[in-house]
């Protein structure tokens, strides 16, 4: 390809669906991920609304407020909500959408290291997702997203197909991570030293390390589960001296680091937002960068905190409890650095910043309740109650999803060359933020009262708080509808975006909005750090 004509950008350079499905441009692949992940989010979100709707009223036998026909269907909807949101939304969410689009731009590269692999990873996700969604039309799956043995071996539902789907989606995650590591190592622009990289890049880099190191273990675990179902190999089967708890160990050896696959890139986005909208150099750049790596490192040694009541040894429980609390250290380093960045900055409450502040508030609650759950004595009481549900939703939704929304509005002008409507965007934040707290805060109390998670029904004493929670879920739904409206409205009739609407200092804002096919007119030469605000 020669020099693109004036006014051409990555969107209008080629036309037609086929040009999108065969594109090797990291920006277009990011958009492909965006469209598909949003669709999965819709499906997973509808499942969540169905679950909350069902829980609106106790005593479903009296047919009051009964939305789902029976407990079996409830279990299936619950499984799809979890599996879709984890494997198809939050894990690929930030790295594959915003990471794909902005990692090369932020380090001044023309593309990721392996563009074909990048497209292949999208097709892996599509294949896995197609298989996963196809199970809905078979016997469906009712194991929850964790596929715990021995139930997952015995149940007659389509576990094998779903597990193969998760394996393929894991492959997609590995390929993305691998691509990002090599990109960061090899494709930085002249002058872009590791310590001049934006913190979003640092967080993606740490995430990529986890993706590459942890996901293969999930791969073999899921393969063994399929083998167990197909041939009864016995490794997780007590009849032959195998151990179902080994499955939990293997599963969480991936799935706990995976929690940080979900949250680390979100933290990276927050670093960008806070510094940009405070117009102030980030406080403690190196500390934030290394705390990402620190979280990634510690994440591999805490899996046992999911298994305090599984019968693992007490010593193991104590060690895992201690190590889990250790995660709080690098996380708190980030929190305090963000707050110090805000201090005496000229804070501007644009929508992305509102989401970032929402993140700080919600993630603090999610994080601190995480420390509570790390205490074995407390966990024995709270295990498998709504307290845990509330905790990880505060981290995953209050943390990651808030960051996705914030990051998305922040980079919207760059991605599409148009401005979104600030007031409807703010309205979406108001509904999501309030709705989120209304939905999940009562669940802490419900959990403390002893309401178990994953149950179809509950005793009448839990009803008032459940009602509040369900109403909250509607508010969140409305908030996302406003968000969707803002996006569509911005795409259709948004004003033309300037190169750098927020006055950011990172490299991607030096590219055109939307960027040209080659990202930059000339290879950028970097002479300063990413956040040198005057």
């Amino acid at each position: 390809m020669g020099h693109a004509p004036e006014g051409s950008n990555y969107i209008n350079v080629q036309k037609g669906l086929w040009s999108w499905l065969t594109t090797l441009d990291h920006k277009r692949i990011g958009i492909l991920y965006f469209v598909t992940v949003m669709f999965f989010f819709l499906v997973g979100g509808i499942a969540a609304l169905l679950l909350r709707g069902e829980l609106f009223a106790a005593n479903t036998t009296a047919n009051v407020g009964q939305i789902l026909a029976n407990g079996d269907i409830y279990n299936q909807v619950l499984t799809y909500h979890g599996a879709i949101m984890v494997f198809m939304v939050i894990v690929p969410g930030i790295p594959a959408i915003l990471g794909n689009f902005f990692l090369p731009l932020q380090i001044g590269a023309k593309d990721v290291a392996f563009p074909k692999l990048n497209l292949a990873s999208w097709y892996c996700l599509m294949l896995g997702a197609a298989l996963a969604i196809a199970t809905m039309f078979t016997t469906r799956v009712d194991t929850g997203w964790t596929f715990y043995t021995p139930y997952s071996i015995r149940t007659g539902t389509a576990v094998s197909m779903m597990v193969v789907a998760a394996f393929i989606m894991g492959m997609s995650s590995i390929l993305t991570g691998l691509n990002f590591i090599v990109t960061v190592h090899k494709l930085r622009a002249p002058g872009m030293t590791m310590y001049r990289m934006p913190l979003f890049v640092w967080s993606l880099y740490s995430t990529a390390i986890i993706q590459v190191l942890a996901t293969p273990v999930l791969g073999i675990t899921l393969l063994l589960l399929v083998m167990e179902r197909a041939f009864g190999v016995g490794i997780f089967d007590p009849k032959l001296g195998g151990d179902p708890v080994l499955f939990q160990h293997f599963f969480w050896f991936y799935s706990h680091p995976a929690v940080y696959i979900m949250i680390l890139p979100a933290m990276g986005i927050i670093s960008e937002l806070i510094t940009t909208f405070s117009k102030k150099t980030i406080f403690g750049y190196t500390a934030i960068a290394y705390s990402s790596l620190g979280i990634a490192a510690v994440s591999f040694f805490v899996w046992g905190h999911h298994m305090f009541v599984s019968g693992q040894s007490e010593v193991a429980g104590i060690v895992f409890s201690f190590l889990t609390m250790l995660v709080g250290v690098p996380t708190a380093i980030k929190m305090f650095n963000w707050i110090s960045t805000l201090y005496k900055g000229s804070v501007e409450f644009r929508t992305p910043m509102l989401y970032a502040l929402g993140f700080l508030f919600l993630f603090a609650i999610g994080g601190v309740t995480g420390i509570m759950l790390a205490v074995t004595a407390v966990d024995v009481h709270f295990h498998d109650t709504y307290f845990v549900v509330a905790h990880f939703h505060y981290v995953m939704v209050g943390g990651t999803l808030m960051a996705i929304m914030g990051g998305f509005f922040y980079w919207f002008p760059k991605m599409f060359g148009k401005m979104y409507n600030e007031s409807t965007a703010r309205l979406s934040w108001v509904f999501i933020f309030i709705g989120f707290n209304v939905t999940f805060f009562p669940q802490f109390i419900l959990g403390a009262m002893g309401m178990p998670r994953r149950y179809f029904d509950y005793i009448p004493a839990y009803e008032p708080l459940n009602r509040i929670s369900t109403v909250g879920s509607w508010l969140i739904g409305i908030g996302f509808l406003f968000g969707l409206y803002t996006i569509i409205n911005g795409l259709i009739s948004g004003q033309k975006a300037p190169k750098n609407p927020w006055g950011s200092k990172t490299l991607e804002w030096e590219a055109d909005s939307p960027p040209s096919v080659h990202n930059f007119d000339h290879e950028p030469v970097v002479t300063a750090g990413p956040y040198e605000y005057k």
Binding site: V217, M227, L246
Partner: protein
């Protein structure tokens, strides 16, 4: 956007500075992929270690049904194939493409010999009623052992050993087949004249993969065959 231009007679994707930049990046990608391979097998090795600690006598008894001579021959075959694979890369670097094609062909042949021996090992076990896990037919196996005058099986959970045996050697076998396919692809590209002394990325990458597959076998052989 990934378009290529020709530098030193080699197509170099636009986001790379030169031939070498592209080569070392590709190689790092391959090595990272190898890390994932090792971690995937790592799950099986950890499982093996745990159960071996719990049931050492069961593992010892299981190894009794494996012919260490066949395993040993296979080990030699794979080590030799690693040597010919390395030769293939060497000949590419030296611009002796005909010899490189031969070296790769011998490598594929070694892979095939390995798989044929593995096939005979597997079918022999199936004939004796040895299958993974719950499918192991213990009465049938004991009958067979009695007929050839050997002592019956003691471990009631022998199937677990063969669960590991078939999962580990099976997953390894799939990798050997994949490797054979990839080497054949390199062979055809080499014969077609795709490679040059400054451009043989595919051979190098597949070579690294093949060495790792060999290496995994070198661990599997003692763990499965010699553990008794």
């Amino acid at each position: 956007m990934s378009t290529s231009r020709i530098i030193d007679g080699v197509p170099v994707q636009e986001h790379y500075r030169d031939v070498d930049h592209q080569f070392v990046s590709a190689k790092e990608g391959i090595w990272l992929f190898m890390v994932t391979e090792i971690l995937m097998f790592g799950g099986l090795f950890v499982g093996y270690a745990i159960y071996h600690m719990k049931y050492p006598e069961m593992f010892a008894e299981g190894a009794r049904f494996l012919d260490w001579r066949l395993g040993f021959v296979n080990t030699l075959v794979l080590i030799f194939s690693s040597f010919t694979m390395a030769l293939g890369i060497y000949f590419c670097q030296m611009n002796q493409m005909k010899k490189a094609v031969w070296a790769l062909a011998v490598t594929v042949l070694c892979g095939a010999i390995f798989m044929v021996i593995k096939y005979f090992e597997y079918t022999h076990k199936f004939h004796m009623g040895i299958f993974p896990g719950n499918m192991l037919n213990l009465p049938f196996l004991n009958e067979h052992l009695a007929s050839i005058g050997e002592k019956p099986v003691v471990s009631s959970n022998l199937g677990l050993y063969f669960g590991f045996y078939f999962c580990m050697s099976g997953l390894h076998g799939i990798h050997v087949l994949l490797g054979m396919g990839l080497i054949t692809w390199c062979l055809f590209r080499c014969a077609r004249g795709d490679f040059k002394p400054n451009y043989y990325t595919a051979v190098e990458g597949v070579g690294i993969f093949w060495h790792i597959v060999d290496l995994i076998w070198i661990f599997l052989f003692p763990l499965l065959y010699l553990v008794g």
